[in-house]
């Protein structure tokens, strides 16, 4: 249970990516990367997860900033959410991203929170955060997926021992924008499409991304593919601020000659990874946007959903959000 008292750790504050990677190599799985710190410090204060060597990336300026490239834009992983929210290029060409970012947590948290931290944040299942010995924590049970488990915020799809969801408001937007995640390690750089970056418990129950020990997310490349598309983002949460989504939805779309020529949609907080709504895209692509299309798409969106005891509201909510996204 939460202790609210950090244990001691060794703090490193490298001023370059090379230094950071060297530290990661040196300390291996005893190290812990801190970006904005909102996720990390909770774990430390709760004494639920410990780190011997904490590597704070806040002095690594090369990981900060938003740059236009010939292929689109590239956002440093240490760029604050507020900077992304207010960036003119993003607001003009990729407003899906600025809209999604603007609904993350609270204004105060967005000032300090980073895009990398948001995308790499750990599961928010309250049992897991509480410190129980669940599967994700290395134990052998799931407390949420029981007859009395308090699982209102948990998943509709992809349960595999763990029923936690992807809590990010930004991750589904990245999937929709076909972003590429640039990952560095002592061995060099590798790039992973956003859609493949997030992983479910069936692949690895103890982490939520493909990031391996010794690796660090350095930037996110957003291609021109969906620039200036018709975007829609909506988040439904219990509160207007400082809250994780009950369900969120991201959509990018082009309409030509009255029909949807291209569309890409994803939903958050319904699965352990951002859920690409591929069937919805298939239903809608090539169609006119009307209530009939929206209804059909909303039916397609929920196919296969397997609710837990307290979260079946997410099914009509997702349906409604799909419809709203296709009306807008």
């Amino acid at each position: 249970m939460a202790k609210d008292m950090m244990p001691a750790f060794e703090l490193y504050q490298p001023d370059s990516l090379d230094n950071a990677l060297e530290l990661l190599s040196r300390f291996g799985d005893r190290s812990w990367i801190v970006a904005g710190g909102h996720d990390s410090f909770d774990w430390f204060k709760d004494r639920t997860k410990y780190a011997q060597y904490v590597i704070d990336l806040n002095n690594v300026n090369e990981l900060k900033g938003i740059n236009e490239t010939s292929e689109g834009i590239e956002i440093g992983a240490m760029t604050s959410l507020t900077e992304i929210e207010l960036n003119d290029v993003i607001r003009q060409r990729y407003s899906l991203l600025s809209d999604a970012v603007s609904r993350v947590a609270s204004p105060q948290i967005r000032h300090i929170g980073t895009i990398g931290g948001n995308l790499n944040q750990d599961a928010r299942c309250w049992y897991y955060r509480y410190g129980v010995d669940c599967y994700r924590a290395g134990g052998n049970s799931c407390y949420a997926d029981t007859p009395e488990g308090q699982n209102r915020e948990h998943c509709l799809w992809g349960a595999s021992r763990c029923v936690a969801v992807s809590p990010s408001d930004v991750a589904p937007a990245m999937v929709v924008l076909e972003a590429t995640m640039v990952i560095a390690s002592a061995n060099g750089l590798r790039e992973v499409p956003a859609e493949d970056y997030f992983i479910g418990p069936n692949i690895d129950i103890e982490r939520m991304t493909v990031i391996e020990p010794g690796e660090v997310l350095v930037s996110i490349k957003i291609p021109n593919t969906w620039a200036n598309a018709m975007f829609y983002f909506e988040k439904v949460a219990d509160r207007n601020t400082w809250d994780f989504p009950l369900v969120n939805i991201s959509r990018a779309m082009f309409i030509e000659n009255g029909v949807v020529s291209r569309i890409r949609m994803a939903a958050g907080a319904v699965e352990c990874i951002p859920r690409r709504l591929s069937v919805v895209e298939q239903v809608v692509a090539g169609s006119e946007l009307n209530e009939e299309t929206a209804e059909l798409a909303s039916q397609a969106a929920i196919r296969g959903a397997t609710p837990l005891n307290f979260n079946h509201f997410k099914i009509p909510l997702l349906q409604n959000l799909v419809k709203r996204a296709l009306r807008a």
Binding site: R47, Y130, Y143, P147, E234, R239, F313, I315, P316, N320
Partner: protein
Amino acid sequence: MAFNLIGKNFTPPDIYAKVTGKAKYAEDFKVEGMVFCRLLTSTIPHARVSNINLDEALSMPGVLGVLTADEVTDTDIMDNPILTNHPKFIGQPILAVAAESEQIAQDAIEKISFAIEALPFTVDPLESLFPGGPNARMEGNVANPGIEPEEVKWQVSDFVAAGENHLPMGSPSREWSYGDLDNAFASSVYILEESFVTQGLSHNSMEPRTALAYWDGDKCILHASSQSQSFPHPGVASYIGIAPENLVFIAEFCGGGFGSKGGAYPYVAIPALMSKKINRPVMMRISRNEEALIGSARPGFQGRARLGFDQNGKMLAADLYIVQDNGPTNGFNDWLSAGDALSLVYTPNAMRFRGIPVLTNTPHRGPQRGPGQNQIANAIEPMIDKAARELNIDPLAIRKINAPNNYSKYGGAQTSVTSAYLSEALDQGAEMFNWNERRQRSGQRNGSKVTGIGIGTAYHSAGSNGFDGLLRIDTDGILHIHTGVGNLGTYSHTSTSRVAAEVLGYSWDRCVVERGDSSKGLPWNLGQFGSNTSFTMTRTNYAAAQDAVIKIKQLAALRLGGSIEDYELQNERVQHFNDLNLSLSFAEVAQIAIDEGGSYSGLTYPDEINPMTKRAVGHLAGSGLIGVGRDNLARSGSVAALAAGFIEIELDLETGDWEIKDYVGIADCGTVLHPLGLSHQVKGGAVMGIGLAGYERHIYDPQNGLPAHLGLCHSKLPTYLDVPSEMRWGAVALEDPENPVGAKGIGEPVQGCASAALLCAISDALGGHLFNRTPVVKDMIINFTAGQEQSYGPLQISSA
């Protein structure tokens, strides 16, 4: 009455410190040699701890000592203990470790080993009442102040008779009734019967109950977080095991209490006892999560109401049953207050109340703003709307026809009230809100959004008597008003003190409010809770000022000749009626008081004042003219604070989102003492009410007894981005006849009227659907609009 000070805005003397961050709360104090202590708390909901091994912890560098449950002051078995080896809720403190730093203390706690035997537990009163169900404690499963702990199991037939959708109603712990209930129901043209659940809630005070303690010989100096000043003092001293005169209790600022810091609470004794043991000043900082568990909680209700109405909407009959989630200790009397509140707010011709407080292995339950009254407002007000709908009566009209007046009596004892102007509050609110026009918008669609309109009403008994007032005029003529009122944030420590200045005709800039530190010499005042301060402490300050008026005139007569009838007070002077040359300034009078001694300068004092006030007078004796007195003014009934709230929302049927478009809150609080402070009460109460009705969570995993709502994020209190930036308010401002300036309190019903109005508006937007549950959160709305079953059973608590 015409006043110079009362009813006028003023700058609270503590406000600059608050807004500049210079205010020093308990955690902000540092003293030389100060060390820290931290708590080992229970990780399971009911257990017995034994074989505690401290060796490794005590051997760690920097560790200074351990305080165990065996070393602390004994408390009554059903009270919340200071420390315990028999924890009855998760988070309950077992022992404390002191060290040079908090980190060392926490590290040491992790080195302490002990045996822990898990005992049966429950987080659901109905589970405990079922035959064979678990008891939250060895002593039984039912208790409350005045009810000795006992085991109560209802009959299986009670549960079967109720079915799944209604509250079973087995043998109650308390029952009262008045009128001919059967006949009243028989006369009713419309009867509704609903079972309901109101959620318990952590107080989640912004400032955790951190405390710093050190000793000066036999005296303990304690910096604590308290919403009251004088009232908790004897209890805190008792927890520490010392006489009250040996406690210096400093609580100048308080970052919220909401009832949880109104009286003495046990945990402040930990740093005091630890300090005594290790002979170092000890700071015990309570964390956010610890506060959520040891900071107490509002009791939840599982209830059932049967209400009968005539064709005009008059409530003829009410039959109420409350099962209270009482936590593991004596808890509080919310359940009884709920019955009284229903009786007063709707004045049914006949009523029966039954209830039972059932123990659970959840945090200690204590009073939280409108304890009982606000839960029942939330449960009943949507039912009133249902009755209005069925009887085709306007929701405003049905509330007015049932509203109490100055002659109403309520509850089993048929208690009278000092004044009650709910009908006037409803009229005033209806006019400000433009009710008749707004009402037409009910159900209006705008895309997926629909408009809902709601009214809420609520009550709290808001005043007491029999406490003391104390003031001093120094030889510079400055008026020092000594108040034992705390600093809960209402500024009533000052608004009530201004009564003394009003009576003496003082200019406010020559007055000082002395408060916040018992060493200043503070009188015995009631705690700052129960909406009582405005009524109770205007009376005490009036009593002290009246004493001063007489003494000033006596001294003038003594020094200048004549009798006291020859003198009046004017412009901070005492003046002979007929001879302008016979006049003394208050500064001169203060010196004469010192010279004359006796009761004038506080060398003697009335026997009837409280020992705390006597000590305070003794502390001030010889330093000026002392005005001191016990409030012996008449009080013949309950001081009824009533409030009405009006709300318009727009609810999105597809997402469950709702937005408050307008809110009007009206207070029946007698004379307005401080308009700006009152406006903050009405609006701040509404914000808290919005949280009570639509946001805040208090969730337990029933299988493991784990709390899911730790921290402000998970508790989901509304933020400033969740509530309207503009709200409107008003006050009936009809004087209460039993207060010398006509004032009565209001702090609590202004929450309940807002929460009830919001629930009614949500119900209205959904065509009159009753959730019969608080809070109403988005998944409930979405399930309803989708035509799905709710996730929870009708009587289920702790639902996600």
